[in-house]
């Protein structure tokens, strides 16, 4: 229950470097697409906190970053396709081929600043079109193969194979939901923490020491699956109680939308600024399975994209000074069927979209080996996958999270470096 007594690490030196680069870019007024400035490569510790946003349900990458330059988009999706830039409610152009759905327009600013890259036609090559099977295979990290009986999450295996960012950190990873995620299953010093502001030992503070000691003692005596989380919870009280989540004031006028995902990202920003040695935060975001009345412009998908884009924009703005030590990855279990169905929605597909945001991202680009949307180029009716999602994650681990033991994190996968970060 005591506050941590260890020395806090000094603020990242990247905070001095980042603004000047950003100001330079803004002042120059030039398009920054494709410009990778490695001027923030030298960090005191050279490691980031990973914020892993998982869009549950299968986000439609063909709407979010629409390939308006591919004529087959409009034959396959006569009703739902985002129109080309310039048309009413048309795409916000990114590079002359891809464009953002209007509801995702807030992502343009981090993209132009060179901090955000999209990876398209990406995903798990496992053929499943089931949400739940895809979660299992993707989050445990065993696509197209049998997995061991004692399964663990890919991110948990990473945390087991690297030294902690901060040896004294009480909490190395958390998921912002009421219960543990598969991605972090068996991770060391990891907890579900849905509302960090509520992470307080309950009851009368006067009697708390005796009650806490009693409960801590019980968990120390048990040998079952509650022993480790019980100990971690008691270790984490000191850290999380010392951070003022409720009174947090975002920087640079960043406005987090007042909904679940926006508030989660606000909490994550507050935690990152506390620089407490947390290495990974998993942020699940429900509600991306739009079989009917998808609404890419004004309906369910537009609403979800607006939440996502405004929250990420706020996070990016808020963490300008800390961008040199944070990488955000946005993923989903699969993209959606290329052709629309008759209920103005799309069914489960294959290839999808990922996003990667941070100070070390070589952003302002849509990274892809575009397979095309013509029926002959499709994978059983779906966007083909040309980049494996494991490549993206391994590159982030390798360059920004203390190195990747690829054989441990994703056994059986020979990774390719796509030059997404420095």
């Amino acid at each position: 229950m005591d506050l941590r007594d260890r020395e806090r690490s000094a603020p990242s030196s990247g905070s001095e470097l980042r603004p000047s680069r950003r100001e330079l870019l803004r002042a120059s007024g030039v398009a920054v697409a494709g410009v990778g400035l490695p001027d923030v490569a030298v960090e005191k510790r050279g490691r980031d906190t990973l914020v892993l946003v998982f869009l549950r349900g299968g986000m439609d990458g063909l709407t979010t970053v629409a390939p308006w330059g591919d004529p087959d988009l409009y034959t396959q999706r006569p009703t739902l396709a985002i129109q080309p830039p310039g048309a009413p409610q048309g795409a916000v152009d990114l590079d002359g081929f891809f464009g953002l759905a209007p509801a995702a327009a807030p992502l343009l600013a981090p993209f132009l600043a060179g901090d955000l890259a999209f990876v398209h036609a990406v995903g798990s090559t496992d053929p499943t079109r089931s949400h739940f099977e895809a979660y299992r295979r993707m989050e445990y990290g065993f696509p197209n193969q049998a997995w061991p009986t004692a399964v663990s999450g890919w991110l948990a295996r990473h945390l087991h194979t690297v030294e902690p960012l901060d040896a004294g950190a009480p909490l190395r990873a958390l998921v912002t939901s009421p219960a543990m995620s598969k991605t972090l299953a068996t991770a060391p010093r990891a907890l579900p923490v849905e509302f960090p502001a509520l992470f307080r030992f309950p009851g009368d503070p006067a009697s708390a020491p005796l009650r806490a000691a009693t409960l801590q003692g019980m968990h120390a005596m048990t040998a079952g699956p509650l022993a480790a989380p019980g100990a971690t919870i008691f270790d984490a009280f000191g850290l999380l109680e010392s951070i003022d989540f409720a009174g947090y004031q975002p920087a640079n006028g960043a406005l987090y939308p007042d909904h679940e995902f926006g508030q989660r990202m606000r909490d994550v920003a507050c935690l990152i600024k506390a620089d407490a040695g947390v290495e990974a935060v998993h942020v699940p975001f429900e509600g991306w399975d739009h079989h009917g009345a998808m609404g890419p412009l004004v309906g369910k998908l537009a609403f979800a994209l607006d939440k996502l884009a405004r929250s990420l924009e706020a996070f990016w703005l808020d963490l300008q000074a800390e961008l040199g030590r944070v990488t955000v990855v946005v993923q989903t279990e699969f993209g959606r069927r290329v052709a629309e169905n008759a209920s103005l929605g799309t069914d489960h597909g294959h290839g999808g979209l990922m996003m990667i945001l941070g100070g070390h991202v070589l952003g302002g680009r849509v990274v892809t080996d575009w397979p095309g949307l013509a029926p002959a180029s499709q994978d059983d009716g779906d966007l083909a996958i040309t980049i494996d999602y494991r490549d993206v994650l391994l590159e982030v681990l390798q360059k920004r999270l203390g190195g990747a033991d690829a054989a441990a994190v994703f056994p059986g996968h020979a990774p390719t470096d796509h030059g997404l970060l420095v």
């Binding site: 089931s130 009421p178 598969k182 309950p202 009368d204 989380p229 008759a342």
Partner: protein, 475 residues
């Protein structure tokens, strides 16, 4: 029954040393929480007697819960009645709130405890997110006419009722599944989650064929007098031939196409394996031996999918003992944790809403799981989530949750009143029938011994510690 599988606790997931007591195990796995009188009744009836008593659920008087639910008017309404009475006047959530409260009240107060436990299982099996627009009121009808009607009856009947249920058709978009471009959402989950399971041997083509067979299955919309009733729209049905997992559905059919597919899937051997495996995991242990699942599946197929026969096959005493389940431990999900806390403390629920709102923070509010696969029943998912339980217990036992209170007198009445000198033992009896670990019992006694006097605040703190103990989280 095959006597394979040693009775070793190899499947044990917890290290808390708890003395084995078969009847206590049975009561722990067939109720939502301990009452000393239920444990005593089970001891007097014996293993088979208790099981048969609980299976014959309609014969168990349940006046108390009926009386407590008498004012919940939407529970007996049709979808059209709920819509026209409440939804049109702006009370979008009224029915949903009543149904959620009813789930809690039934679990706490009903004497038909096994029935409620199986209802919870099938609520997850045919999971519907109640907050999904029209499901705010359609789920009330589904809960009554699909889940509760058939939970201890015929699984094939439940499956067919589910496929005709507006709440399910709406949740998984089959209401807009038409021949021109089928919507596969329900068809996929019908195979993957409701019948043969993800390893059931179907292909992507089978998913598409099932979707075609179910084109035109919809329900009467809002505003129509029959709103919520099943409707078959022949004009959008795909009349071509289909083949589903080897079943040939000839061309020219209508409503009977879907019926054929459902009948075929309901009694498919893979469905028997999948549903019985899940039920054995729910009632018995996390990793039931294959011979237990095979025995249950055999009972399923021999009885045409009778859930009671399946439960008899899983919970027969010799099966339980040979499976090793007596030495294995499962982790309670938050709802079971909360209901157990309320039952054992003789709770008085005047208004369940505030408690349900707080329960939501534990990740297990009734009908709130957003996805169609139902809440996980795994250690992996729930083990890290202890603090929300401690907080809820602390607030409840300090009378800080509005609308609900516990009774010290009734909690200890069968033990001759609270006795601080044996408080640890008493709390163990009250909350777990003696099933808490010796270490936890000793820690509780030490907590009381550290106080010179026991006022209601200290007693409440002790009760909260009892239900926060590691061994209370298991059963």
């Amino acid at each position: 029954m095959i006597a394979a599988g040693a009775a070793s606790p190899a499947g044990a997931t917890a290290g808390s040393e708890v003395e084995l007591d078969p009847i206590r195990w049975l009561v722990g796995h067939t109720t939502q929480g301990f009452l000393l009188e239920e444990l005593a009744l089970a001891r007097s009836l014996g293993w088979d007697g208790w099981l048969e008593y609980q299976l014959d659920h309609r014969a168990i008087p349940d006046d108390e819960v009926q009386a407590r639910l008498a004012s919940f008017t939407t529970l007996t309404m049709s979808a059209a009645e709920i819509h026209d009475t409440f939804v049109v006047s702006g009370s979008n959530f009224h029915a949903a709130r009543e149904l959620r409260a009813a789930a809690l009240m039934r679990s706490v107060y009903s004497r038909r405890q096994l029935f409620e436990r199986v209802v919870e299982f099938f609520t997850d099996h045919f999971s519907i997110d109640q907050m999904n627009f029209q499901d705010r009121w359609l789920k009330t009808v589904d809960d009554r006419d699909v889940i509760r009607k058939h939970a201890l009856g015929s699984f094939p009947d439940m499956l067919r009722a589910s496929a005709h249920s507006a709440a399910m058709l709406y949740f998984l978009n089959n209401d807009v599944n038409v021949a021109a471009a089928p919507n596969e959402n329900y068809a996929r989950e019908l195979l993957e989650l409701h019948t043969v399971g993800v390893d059931g041997g179907y292909t992507e083509q089978d998913v598409k064929e099932v979707a075609r067979a179910l084109t035109g299955w919809t329900f009467w919309p809002k505003g129509h007098p029959q709103h919520g009733d099943f409707r078959f729209d022949a004009s959008v049905h795909d009349t071509g031939p289909k083949t589903v997992m080897g079943l040939y559905v000839p061309a020219g059919g209508g409503l009977e196409d879907g019926d054929m597919v459902l009948d075929y899937l309901a009694l498919h051997p893979q469905t028997a394996q999948y549903v019985c495996g899940k039920l054995a995991r729910w009632l018995l242990m996390y990793e039931p031996p294959q011979w237990v699942v095979d025995g249950a599946a055999q009972a399923y197929l021999a009885s045409g999918g009778d859930v009671q026969e399946v439960i008899r096959a899983i919970l027969a005493r010799d099966v339980v003992e040979a499976s090793g389940a007596l030495g294995a431990r499962k982790l309670k999900r938050p709802f079971q944790f909360a209901v157990g806390m309320l039952r054992s403390s003789r709770t008085e629920i005047v208004d369940a809403q505030m408690f349900l709102d707080e329960l939501h923070l534990l990740g297990n509010s009734p009908y709130a799981w957003p996805q169609p696969n139902g809440l996980p029943d795994t250690v992996e998912h729930w083990a890290g989530s202890l603090l929300p339980r401690w907080i809820l217990a602390s607030r409840y036992f300090q009378d800080q949750v509005e609308g609900i209170s516990f009774s010290i007198q009734q909690t200890f009445s069968q033990l001759g009143g609270f006795d601080r000198t044996r408080a640890g033992r008493q709390l163990n009896e009250v909350f777990a029938g003696g099933g808490l670990s010796a270490a936890d019992e000793a820690a509780l006694q030490a907590f009381f011994d550290a106080h010179t006097s026991i006022d209601p605040v200290v007693l409440g703190e002790g009760l909260a510690l009892a239900v926060s103990s590691p061994s209370f989280q298991e059963y």
